[in-house]
Amino acid sequence: MGGIHLLAGFDSFTLTWPYFFDQLVAGLTLGSLYALLALGYSMVYGILKLLNFAHGEVFMIGSYIGYFVLTALGGAASPDVPIVVLLLLMFAAGMLGSGLLGVAIERFAYRPLRSAPRIAPLISALGVSFFLQQLATLLFGSIPKQYNTFGLHNGSLFNRITLGNFQIQYMQLIVVVSAVVLMLALTQLVARTKVGRAMRATSFDLEAASMMGIDIDRVIMFTFFVGSALAGAGGVMNGLIFQNVNAYVGFNAGLKAFTAAVVGGIGSIKGAMFGGLTIGVAQAFATGYLSSAYQDVIVFALLVVILLMRPTGLFGTPALQKV
């Protein structure tokens, strides 16, 4: 694409159904990534009322971990293990590593500030985000690391399945399906398990939850672990699809996911998923039909419009002022 066609750039090619479906699929793939990432923002906000600015960087580290696992197992062109095992290992390591990183961030940057003025943890989060970005630059260098997943299985993962006008790459299918599986698992975890109940109770009323004997610190830690693990999975997916990772990939993805969480109604799990897909599809269509250079501007405009209509997002409950 590359060129600009803001307002008037359509030609016969861009106005076909296959093109439309291509954008839609790309949007849904991107949207699943954002949704995974948005869940972390939303869950943490639900419990601590904290915007965890460092969440995007957790995603970035997860992506790096995926890269290192891939490299350690021989690289994409000639992996030492079957592809399924390779992918599973990448996901497992990325999720575990990111999860632990999230727990560490909570423990050291946010827990000491539980009772501090509202602005303090936000600044601290900004500091962590910045720290991790620069740390990654120092540790892994400023040149992007290449996943080269085109090389996997002789590139057949990027072949397309065709259903009439509808086409999807195997790799996109893998990403969307694993994102859906992870999100279903999360919904079940929150709705059905004991720890899920504790999370819901804590996010509704932290003090009352502690009065029930719930160990708040552990619930928060668990929330950070789960949210960060999802971000780690997102990071690995990002690497698989976009082929590379650099220290700044988390900032931009984080910003979009953040927007997704806000659009969906921050604190709401359903909202995060929906918001992620909305932003992903919006971005893909903005790129495909309007302008790739100004896609951020368009997503921002969308955010502003939605917030103007519904200040607490699509699924958020309007906050009642307590007097």
């Binding site: 109940r197 509704f204 009323d205 502690s210 009065m211 004997g213 719930i214 160990d215 708040i216």
Partner: protein, 235 residues
């Protein structure tokens, strides 16, 4: 009498504000004690200190003979404390059943039995078990909050302002239930502004004023005490 709960020389701060000053109190096994005092006298803070939600800067909290001063809230509750918080604080977006389950969070196995006990005593709670707690009326919420606290079969039940936000008729109903629970052998600490009501059912009473205990004694003596009115109304 062996004390179930014993606070000795507790000092609690919020930031630089010194809230509880040298508070010492005891609750015996199965005893019903009222803690009285006006607004901002430190009643709720006392409860939070007992539970460990607010740490005491100096002093000791002993529960069942064990020093729990450095223990977390969850540990203390696991040892047999429970609370009906001020304004009930039910988890509004969760069902009644889930709320009750939260009350037995640390119990695990005993939960089923506890639920059956509640259902048999309060059929109405059974009927409403799938309803969201936020949609209950004030009186119903109070009932659920009490039941929630009793799910863990506590040795000591703390009650923070059970009369708050309830119509007078419901207040009386609440106090009847408090007496019932007390009769079943549970020790209770009832924090109240409504001094007459609270003392009429209590064994003993303490009066807090700006963070200090200013009066203590048997409930009957306190009721007769001429300074009570003056003392608990303000400084």
């Amino acid at each position: 009498m062996s004390a179930l709960l014993e606070l000795s020389g507790i000092n609690t701060y919020y930031g630089q504000m010194h809230i509880l000053q040298d508070v010492s109190l005891k609750i015996g096994e199965g005893e019903l004690v009222s803690l009285l005092g006006g607004n901002a006298s430190g009643k709720s803070t006392t409860l939070k200190t007992i539970l460990g939600i607010v740490p005491a800067r100096t002093g000791n909290v002993r529960f069942g003979g064990e020093d729990v001063t450095a223990r977390r809230t969850s540990y203390r509750i696991g040892r047999g404390m429970a609370i009906v918080p001020e304004n009930r604080r039910l988890f509004a977006p969760m069902t009644v059943l889930e709320n009750l389950e939260m009350g037995a969070y640390l119990q695990g196995d005993g939960m089923k039995e506890g639920l059956e006990r509640v259902y048999s005593l309060f059929p109405i709670v059974y009927e409403r078990r799938q309803q969201l707690a936020g949609t209950l009326s004030g009186g119903e919420q109070q009932m659920v909050a009490m039941r929630r606290a009793l799910m863990s079969r506590p040795k000591l039940l703390l009650m923070d302002e059970p009369s708050m936000g309830l119509a007078p008729i419901l207040v009386e109903r609440s106090f009847e239930i408090i007496q019932q629970v007390h009769a079943s052998g549970v020790a209770m600490l009832v924090v109240e502004q409504n001094a007459n009501m609270a003392l009429s059912i209590a064994d003993r009473g303490y009066v807090l004023s700006t963070g200090r205990l200013v009066l203590e004694g048997a409930a009957k003596e306190l009721l007769a005490h001429e300074d009570l009115r003056k003392a608990y109304l303000g400084r």
